[in-house]
């Protein structure tokens, strides 16, 4: 049996029914990683011994028959390398943290481990989350498993590639401006950005604190909901954690009816900002939902230029502040040829950070300077509130919004190396949910006829209404894939 193409939901059933042990499953995935990852480079660290130990512990719990087995018990997972994992190197794909071993685990990771998840390794990413192609890692780039000449997307490119290639059945990523949704779309898998505050940011190494979220990447929607249920919920260690009860969603999807659900579609923006393949796939997705009895409503999203500007102003400003902690003193790499404290700071940081990170730190520093603060940063704060208000109005007209994730198919590696900032405008569809703090899930809705590359669509919902987002996604996935739960290519 080829476990590496199975979903979390399917594996969970096999484990509960004792048809496979966690150790057997974990060894399968570790073997697949050894065979395949040298071509994809999804992982920065593979923690084989830790994984085997966790698998054996999970098997002991399952054998003991004590109480209910959590759905994620014994199932291997990968963690993006900006989530702290106690005792396992956590680098953020940066030289400055290349030997950093955290003394604690992120809350999302701790919850998974508490439910018996088996962490097999840490995945590659754009350095500190800054990027959308996984080309900005200090440890080499990750290749799209569906076409190795193309990017897997980013910044959670390693996590998306690992799931798409069958190296793990699920992974955690982080999404600040699209970094779970876009690589999920590029790799033909499902990626969820929860509402801001829904999943604890404790232990997520900060990029932009008012935008960062943690989200699951899986092969199908119901598995995604299962992982989401395990990590969502209030955490007093995170001051921005939502205190409202987080409703479980996975057990509410099967049999759920979306007839009458109002789907907002930004036709004009799709027409002006996507290529023909993405347009066709979105059109097909709209038809699938209409065929299930949904009401389709033409909507206009808030100004895309303003939204993109607000995102880059706020994220750069916050990044420049968050990354000021990397000074070569308390953790991370320290430059050795220094005779003054100022040299320690400047040399450690300049040598430790990559060019994209330095670019954004400088931009953020510029925007937060006394002369520029009113001109850009404060206006970005205002723009965010205006965009949030804009979505409140939209959600009186519709229940969810269906939109593209990316304007094009995954592009070739190196396309933007001459002009790195040219790729920022590719974030046009993902930054909306980020700026407004809304839940949004990306799932495959079609393929390009010539290249067989996947096209993803995203479903954006009201703040804190992950259930409606998942219900709409499940219905769309059912229609797109027929009875087959897995979308995207099986590698």
């Amino acid at each position: 049996m080829n476990y590496c193409t199975m979903t979390v939901n399917e594996l969970s059933r096999l484990i509960k029914e004792k048809k496979i042990s966690s150790l057997e499953l974990t060894l399968s995935y570790l073997e697949k990683i050894k065979e395949t990852d040298k071509n994809i480079r999804a992982f920065i660290t593979v923690s084989e011994e830790t994984a085997k130990k966790a698998a054996a512990e999970a098997d002991a719990v399952i054998r003991s028959g004590a109480g209910d087995i959590h759905p994620l018990m014994g199932i291997p997972a990968a963690i993006k390398d900006n989530l702290c994992t106690e005792g396992i190197k956590t680098t953020c794909a940066s030289r400055i943290l290349r030997n950093f071993v955290p003394p604690y685990s992120a809350e999302a990771v701790a919850r998974l481990k508490g439910h018996g998840a088996v962490i097999v390794g840490k995945t590659n990413m754009d350095e500190f989350g800054m990027g959308s192609s996984c080309e900005n890692s200090a440890f080499g780039l990750t290749h799209n498993p569906l076409d190795p000449t193309r990017v897997p997307g980013g910044s959670s490119g390693g996590s998306a590639a690992a799931v798409a290639a069958g190296l793990v059945p699920y992974a955690l990523g982080s999404d600040t401006g699209g970094s779970v949704r876009q690589p999920a779309a590029y790799c033909g898998v499902v990626g969820m950005k929860p509402s801001y505050g829904r999943v604890s940011r404790y232990g997520l190494i900060a990029f932009a604190s008012s935008l960062d979220t943690v989200g699951p990447i899986t092969r199908d929607v119901i598995s995604n909901a299962m992982v989401y249920d395990a990590i969502a919920g209030y955490d007093p260690k995170d001051s921005t954690s939502l205190q409202e009860h987080s409703e479980a969603v996975a057990d509410k999807l099967k049999g759920s009816n979306v007839r009458g659900m109002r789907i907002g579609v930004p036709y004009s923006l799709i027409e002006s900002h996507t290529d023909i393949t993405v347009k066709k796939a979105l059109s097909s997705a709209v038809k699938h939902l209409a065929d299930q009895g949904c009401e389709i409503i033409d909507i206009t999203l808030p100004d895309p230029g303003l939204t993109l500007a607000a995102y880059y102003a706020l994220s750069s400003a916050e990044a420049s502040s968050n990354l000021s902690r990397y000074d070569g003193i308390r953790f991370g790499e320290r430059a050795e040829d220094c005779s003054t404290i100022e040299e320690v700071f400047k040399k450690s940081r300049s040598r430790g950070f990559g060019p994209e990170v330095k670019r954004r730190i400088l931009l953020g520093t510029f925007l937060l300077s006394r002369e520029m603060c009113d001109r850009y940063y404060k206006k970005a704060l205002m723009a965010r509130e205006m965009i949030i208000n804009g979505f409140s109005s939209l959600f009186s007209l519709c229940d969810v919004i269906l939109a593209p994730v990316a304007p094009t198919l995954p592009y070739r590696i190196g396309k933007y190396s001459a002009e790195p900032e040219a790729r920022y405008s590719e974030d046009i569809f993902t930054v909306y949910a980020s700026i407004a703090g809304l839940p949004a899930i990306s799932l495959p809705v079609g393929k390009d006829a010539d290249t067989n590359l996947p096209v993803g669509a995203q479903i954006i919902g009201r703040a804190k209404d992950e259930l409606t987002v998942y219900r709409a996604a499940y219905a769309l996935e059912t229609a797109v894939c027929g009875g087959e739960r897995r979308c995207g290519n099986d590698i």
Binding site: P103, Y312, A313, S324, R330, R359, L362, K379
Partner: protein, 97 residues
């Protein structure tokens, strides 16, 4: 007192920004200048907003957690990640002349 950052980006601006950001001056000023100018042109829609925004607009304030102490992970755990320690202290170049 540090000098002001001018509203246009030039070699002086880059040097001052690097100083504030605790980075070494770049090898190529012109590349950084070009980067910042391109990025600020992306931000130009913000300049069109009125200074105080639409009437009634309220900007959310930072969420603070309760100001209570929590258990420390302990010196061992905290110092385990430091590049250089000695006798329970972080080692750095001389900071006071």
């Amino acid at each position: 007192m540090k000098e002001k950052i001018p509203q246009t980006v030039n070699k002086n601006t880059i040097e001052k920004l690097c100083d504030l950001a605790m980075l070494l001056p770049p090898e190529s000023d012109s590349e950084v200048e070009r980067d910042i100018e391109k990025l600020t042109s992306l931000l130009s829609p913000l300049e069109a907003l009125e200074d105080n925004g639409p009437q009634g607009l309220q900007i959310k304030q930072t969420a603070f957690r309760e100001d209570i102490t929590a258990d420390s992970p302990g010196d061992g755990a905290v110092l385990s990640t430091a590049p250089e320690v000695s006798d329970g202290y972080l080692c750095v170049p001389r900071t006071v002349e």
